[in-house]
Symmetry: none
DNA sequence: TATGAATGAGGCTTCATTCAT
DNA sequence: AATGAATGAAGCCTCATTCAT
C-alpha cells in the first residue's frame, strides 16, 4: 500500500514538476519579450533562460506561437476578471467602478499590456493558433453582455449619453489602449515624472466619458499647476 | 539648341521615371502590408508587385527598413500638417478645431494609421534606421509647442481643466490611437455598421475631453437609439 | 551504476561525434579550397562535401570566416611547433637546425601553406575575426624571442653576420614564403621534376644565409648537371 | 583640305581622349585596390573614382577581370624590362647586376608588387582572362633564356654553384617574392624603422645566394649593431 | 523523458553586366 | 559614345521544428 501511495505521490510530483516547467517557460519568454525586440526572441533563448533544453519546450507547446498565445490568454483572463469585479461593484452602486477597475488593471503593467497588443498583431494571420486567438477574443467579449446591461441601465437613468451602449465601453477600451501606447511612446517630450498624474488624468476621462451633466474635473492631486484659477 | 533642350528634357524625363518608380515601390509595399502579415512581406514580393526586379529596389532604398520608415515618414508628415492646420483654425477662434482635425486625419485611413503604428514597433530596435526614427518622433513633436501655447491659453480662459497643457493633447493622442486600434479589432461584437457613428462619438469625446462645464452630448445624428428616453 | 556509466559514455560518444563533425567540415573546406578558387567555395558546397546540412555548419562556426581562420590557426600552430623543436635542437648544438626545421615544415605541404597565405589576405579586413587574426600573428611571433636569443649568440660567436638578429629570421621567413609561392607558380618553365632538388637548394640557402665564412654549396645529390665544370 | 586635317585632328584627339580615359580607369582601380580590400573594390567604385559612368568602363574593358589583368600586365612588363636591363649590365661585366636590378625593381613599389601577386591568385581560375594570364607568364619568362645563358656562363666560371641554372634565378625570385610579403606582413614585431636596412640585407643575400667562395657580408651601412665584433 | 544537434527553406543584400536613351 | 538604371543570380546566415539517443 505504501507502494501505491508513493507511486501516486510520484505521479503527482511529476505532474507538478511538469506544470512548474511550463510556468518557467512562460516566464522566461515573458522576460525576454519585455527586454528585447520580439523578433529577437528565439525558442532557443527561451529554453536557455528557462534552464531547459530546446526540445523540452516542444513537449509543452506544439509551436512557438502557442507560447505567445498562452501569454496573451493568461493576461486577458486576468484583465477580464478585473473588469468583471468592477462591473459587479458598479451594479452594487459604485458609479464608474467598472471603468475604473478596467483602467487600473490595464495600466498596472503597461509593459505587459503593450506586449500582448503587439503579440496579437503578430499572430493575426497565424493559422496554427487561429482557434486560440478566437478564444482570446471570446475572453475579451466575455463581459460584453454584463457591460451592455449595466450601461443600458445608466443610459436609462440619464447618466450616460443615449448612444448604443457598446459605444461607451468601446470608447473606454480605446482610451485605455491608447493610454498604454502613450506610456511607452518615445514620441513625446513630456516629462515622464508626470506619468502617473497623466494616467490618473486619462483614467478620470475614461471613467467620465459619455457622462451627461456637469463634468467634475478635479481629482485629488491631479492638478499640479500652482496658480490654477480653480484653486 | 533644340539639341540642348531635348537633352535637358530627356534628363528630366528620366528623373521623373526614377521618382515614379520609387512611388511604385512604396505603393506596392503599402498594398502588401495592408493585405497580409508584415513579416510575410518580403523585398521579393514588393519587387514583384511593383513589377520590377529585386535589385532595383535597392537602387531606391538602402535597406528594407528604409522602405518601412519611408512609409511612416510620409504618413506622419501628412498627419502633422493636418494637425498644424487644425491648430491654426483653433487659434482663429474655432474651438476644438485642432482635436477635430487630428481625429479626422487619423481616422481617415485607419488601416494606414494602424500599419504605421505597427511598423514603428518593428523598427524600435532597428539600428540601421535609428536616425530616421528619431526624425519621425521629431515630426510628431513638431506641433507640441503650438499645442502647448494654445492649450495654456484655453486653460487660462477656464475652458480646459487646469493640468499641465500636455496632459490634454496626450490624452487626445491616446484616444485617437486607441480609436484606430478599435477600428480593426476583431475582439468586439459590435455591429460594424455602426463604425462611423462610433468614431464620431469617440471623436466628440476627444474634442471635449478635459473641457470644463456642461458637456454637450448630442451631435447631429449620433443617437441611433430609437426609443431613447431623451427623445 | 551501469546506468551512470552508460550515460556518461553516451555523452562522451556524442561529444566525440560532434568534434568529428567539426573535423569533417574543416577537411571538406580544405579539400575544396585546394581544388578550386577560394571565392568559389561556398558554405553550401562545404556542407555538401562534408555530407551535412548547411545549417549544421553554423553549429560549429559562427561565420564562414571562422572556418577559414580555424584552418589557419591549426596550420600555424603546427608550424610554430616545428620551429620551436628546431630551435631547441639548435640550442643543443645542431647548427642550422632551426632554419632547417622551419623550411621542412613549410615545404611539407606547400599547397596548404600557400592556402593559408591566401586566406590571410582575404581576412585582412574582416572585422568578425580580427581578434583571431591577432591570435594568428601571436602564434607566428611566439618563437621570436627564442630566435633572437639564439641568433644573438651565433652573431656573438661570429658565425652570423652582425646585423639585428631579427634580420636573419625575417630573411629566412621571406625565402620560405617565396619558396612556397614558387612551388605553385605557373610562371616558370622549369621542369617540375626538379622540384625537390630545387627546394633542397633553396632550403640550403635558407639555412646558410647570413652565415659568415666559407659557403658550402654541395649538398648530397643537388647537382644534376652532369657535365658541370666543377665535377 | 583644312577640313580633312581638322577631321583627322579630331579623330586623333578622340583617340587620345579614349586612351586617357583608359589610363584613368586603371589608375582609379589601382588606387582603390591599394587602399582597401580587393573584394571591396567594385566596378561602380572604379567608375566613380575615374570620374566616368559605369557603362563607360565596359567600353574599355570587356569584364572586370580585364582591368585586373591589365594592371598586372603593365606591372610585369615594367619588372621584366628592369630585369632585362640588369641582365645586360651583368653581361657587360657588372657582377650581380641582374639580381640587384630585379630586387630593386620589385621592392621599389612593394605595395603594387604585392597587389599583383594577390590579383594573380584571384584570377588563377578565371576563364575569361585565361589567355591574358598566359601572356603574363610569358612576360615573366621572357628573360629566362638570357638568364640561363648568363648563369650557365657564371657556373662555368666557377662563380656560382653548379646546379641547373634556373635554380639560381628561381631562388632569387622566391626571395624577392618573400621580401615583398615581409614588407606588409603584420606578423612580426620588428621595428619598421629598420625596413630599408632589412631589405638591403635581403637584397644582398639575393645577390650573393648561390655564390661560391667567401661570403662578403658587409655592405655600406647595413650593420647597425654598434658593438659588433667584426667592426 | 529530456535533450540539442541537424536540418533547409527562405530572408536580405551585393554587384557584374546589359541596354535603352 | 557615354550613361546609369535595371536586373537577378548567388551568397551568407537565421531559426522553427524534428528526431535519434
Amino acid at each position: 500500500m505504501s507502494n501505491k501511495t508513493s507511486s501516486a505521490d510520484r505521479i503527482r510530483a511529476k505532474k507538478k514538476l511538469f506544470l512548474d516547467r511550463e510556468k518557467k517557460i512562460i516566464d522566461a519568454a515573458l522576460e525576454l519579450f519585455l527586454e528585447q525586440s520580439i523578433d529577437a526572441v528565439t525558442v532557443s533563448k527561451i529554453a536557455t533562460k528557462a534552464g531547459i533544453g530546446k526540445g523540452t519546450v516542444y513537449k509543452h507547446f506544439l509551436t512557438k506561437n502557442e507560447i505567445l498565445i498562452r501569454i496573451m490568454l493568461d493576461y486577458e483572463g486576468h484583465i477580464a476578471a478585473c473588469l468583471a469585479a468592477g462591473i459587479r461593484k458598479t451594479e452594487e452602486g459604485v458609479a464608474g467602478a467598472a471603468a475604473q477597475s478596467y483602467f487600473k488593471a490595464r495600466l498596472a503593467r503597461p509593459d505587459l499590456d503593450r506586449l500582448v497588443q503587439q503579440l496579437e498583431v503578430r499572430l493575426a494571420y497565424a493559422e496554427d493558433v487561429a482557434e486560440q486567438l478566437e478564444e482570446l477574443h471570446r475572453i475579451r467579449r466575455s463581459n460584453e453582455e454584463s457591460l451592455s446591461h449595466m450601461l443600458t441601465k445608466q443610459i436609462g437613468a440619464g447618466v450616460l449619453e443615449d448612444v448604443p451602449p457598446h459605444f461607451h465601453y468601446l470608447a473606454c477600451w480605446a482610451l485605455a489602449q491608447g493610454a498604454v501606447d502613450l506610456w511607452y511612446s518615445k514620441s513625446w517630450n513630456y516629462n515622464h515624472g508626470d506619468i502617473s498624474d497623466l494616467m490618473e488624468f486619462i483614467t478620470n476621462i475614461g471613467v467620465t466619458m459619455g457622462n451627461i451633466g456637469q463634468y467634475h474635473p478635479v481629482a485629488k492631486g491631479t492638478s499640479k499647476n500652482k496658480n490654477s484659477k480653480t484653486s
